[in-house]
């Protein structure tokens, strides 16, 4: 029943978001595009840190690699950016294998610093790629984004300018990515593997004693989130149209913000990142006239949440009201049908 309610409200929200581009308002569409992309990154980081216990400070690695491979595909190999983005996601996933071999040898804080160092290595290496502009970066060729499949169709059906059609397409793709991430996370976390993962997070020794293999599960999550993060990175830079190593591998934009979003919203819950991204966007809009003040406020809120409400806004809300949309727990198994049980129940007038 509660599940149905949560599902319904999510469907309504998704449907409302889906029709936004039809009402024009390109600035709003571009804003929401970025919010949706940050949400995808946040859902991914939440899977890593909130469920798999992998506190990575290097997710910008996969954002940057996805974006750069997409640019390479579009500029050097003449593919359209969407195919390029898909290849970007795949390359990010392939790259995550050797990265995992390195960082999985490290624990806790070492893991965090290790991932960060690897991401910085990638940033510096990609700035050596002269064909893609080296350290200063490059722009997508004119018309590359307009040649993406679907753009022509949108232009004909809706009669909009090519740039607006590109915005719409990327926006819907981002929305689709959010929905896919949410559905995939929910199914995965309620599956046998997901339960194992949460068991490892809550008590590694006990989980291993019942046969859960933590390294295999964590590696799987690392691999899959690398893919989704790479896809999202490619999508972001299709919309931006320009790339540079510092922008593509920015630890602030693609990891720090994302961490704050997850923590403020509620780490280790599925709706948490959604709440977090709303708070982030709200702050950004509210304080947009005061330069970087919103970052200071964001940092302070993050600290306060860690000090006083470690489970974040959503975690606190759930605890306080008992309402839990998208619960990850399974219903407890039915009581065994023994005579003794039935007797005690009947005593209580059932």
């Amino acid at each position: 029943m509660k599940n149905a309610l949560g599902l319904l409200s999510l469907l309504v929200i998704v449907a409302a978001l889906a029709v936004v581009p039809l009402f024009g308002l390109r600035a709003l569409v571009q804003d929401l595009f970025m919010v949706l992309c940050l949400l995808v990154l946040a859902l991914n980081w939440n899977m890593l840190a909130g469920f798999a216990g992998l506190v990575s400070v290097g997710q910008q690695l996969f954002v940057g690699v996805g974006a750069y491979v997409m640019f390479a595909a579009a500029i050097l190999w003449g593919l359209d950016p969407l195919t390029g983005g898909l290849i970007g996601g795949l390359v990010a996933m392939v790259l995550s294998v050797p990265v995992a071999f390195f960082v999985f040898r490290l624990n806790g804080a070492y893991f965090a610093i290790g991932t960060w160092a690897v991401a910085d290595i990638a940033r510096l290496s990609f700035s050596q790629w002269q064909a893609l502009g080296g350290g200063t970066g490059t722009a997508l060729p004119r018309g590359a984004a307009r040649d993406m499949p679907g753009v022509q169709l949108l232009r004909e059906v809706l009669g909009v300018s090519p740039a607006a059609a590109v915005d719409m397409l990327t926006y819907w793709l981002a929305l689709g990515l959010v929905v896919a991430m949410l559905v995939a996370s929910w199914i995965f976390l309620r599956s046998r593997m997901g339960l194992g993962l949460q068991a490892v997070r809550d008590n590694p020794v006990a989980a291993r004693s019942v046969g859960v293999d933590p390294v295999r599960l964590k590696a799987l999550v690392f691999l899959l989130t690398a893919f989704a993060t790479g896809l999202c990175g490619a999508l972001i830079f299709i919309q931006t149209g320009r790339i540079s190593p510092d922008a593509a591998f920015s630890v602030i934009d693609w990891t720090a913000f994302v961490i704050f979003i997850v923590v403020i919203g509620g780490i280790g819950t599925l709706p948490g990142p959604i709440i977090g991204v709303l708070v982030f966007y709200g702050l950004q809009r509210l304080l947009s006239d005061y330069g970087t003040v919103y970052l200071i406020v964001l940092g302070v809120i993050g600290i306060v949440v860690m000090l006083f409400a470690r489970r974040g806004l959503w975690g606190g809300f759930t605890q306080w009201t008992g309402v839990n949309l998208l619960p990850l727990e399974h219903a407890p198994p039915k009581r065994p049908d023994t005579g003794i049980r039935r007797n005690t129940r009947s005593v209580h007038g059932e």
Binding site: R105, G108, A117, D120, S127, I296, L307
Partner: protein
Amino acid sequence: MIWLDTLIQGLLLGGLYALFAAGLSLVFGIMRLVNLAHGDLIVLGAYLILGIGTALGLNPFVAALIALPLMFLLGWLLQTVLLNRVLGDDILPPLLVTFGLSVVIQNALLEQFTADSRRLPVGPIEAKSLAFGSVSVGVMPLITFASAILVILCLNWIFYRTAIGRAFRATSDDSVTAQLMGIRPRRVFALATGIALVVATIAALYLGARANFDPSIGPARLLYAFEAVIIGGLGSLWGTLIGGLIIGVAQAFGAALKLEWQILAGHVAFVLILLVRPRGLFPRAHD
């Protein structure tokens, strides 16, 4: 002889990195706290020295003497008010709180001092150099290197020869048993962070005297420092010095091959060493 020159420049640069890392190493070794704001605290120290120097018309070296106790106090307060509350088995809360602190400090400095790069005016000593045969060595880098050795010696003396140091080591090894012996970990931690920020201020002095700085350079310095700490091994101060020297030498040789390879070479050295020794070269304490 160019190789010898590169090696010496690298070692001297490594001295600076060891200074960045020494405070971090102390805190990390004692309470396993990953202070992601350490780089920004160093930059904050540099601005503090600059501010005191400008306001009172003092040489940065003298201004740093005034900044030292202030930064100690800041570290003590930071630990008491903020960081002690989030220490525990879970590494996420301290990581996030210091990450938040990093963003706050960085942007507060940006608001206050703009993104212009600054430099600490240390006077004529800045351009002086000594010639050893064919190799010429700057006086400032030499002083930096000597200070790094001195700082490590002092920290080691505190760590192994004083009652405070005994408390540090005891808490690092087994904080529960240390409490049974009448040590209050929270006070020990506050003291350690205070000392760490004193070292950070010394690092800030040389950072600002040798190169330009602006509010955004903290995280990169933090990364070099952390690599030095990890290469050196948890809880080993000499290890941290050697880690800093390795990063410095690797960067110098990278830069000698191709200028853009400087930072990359440092990171690659870090990864290679960790591949061979995941716990660093000289780990003292256990994780």
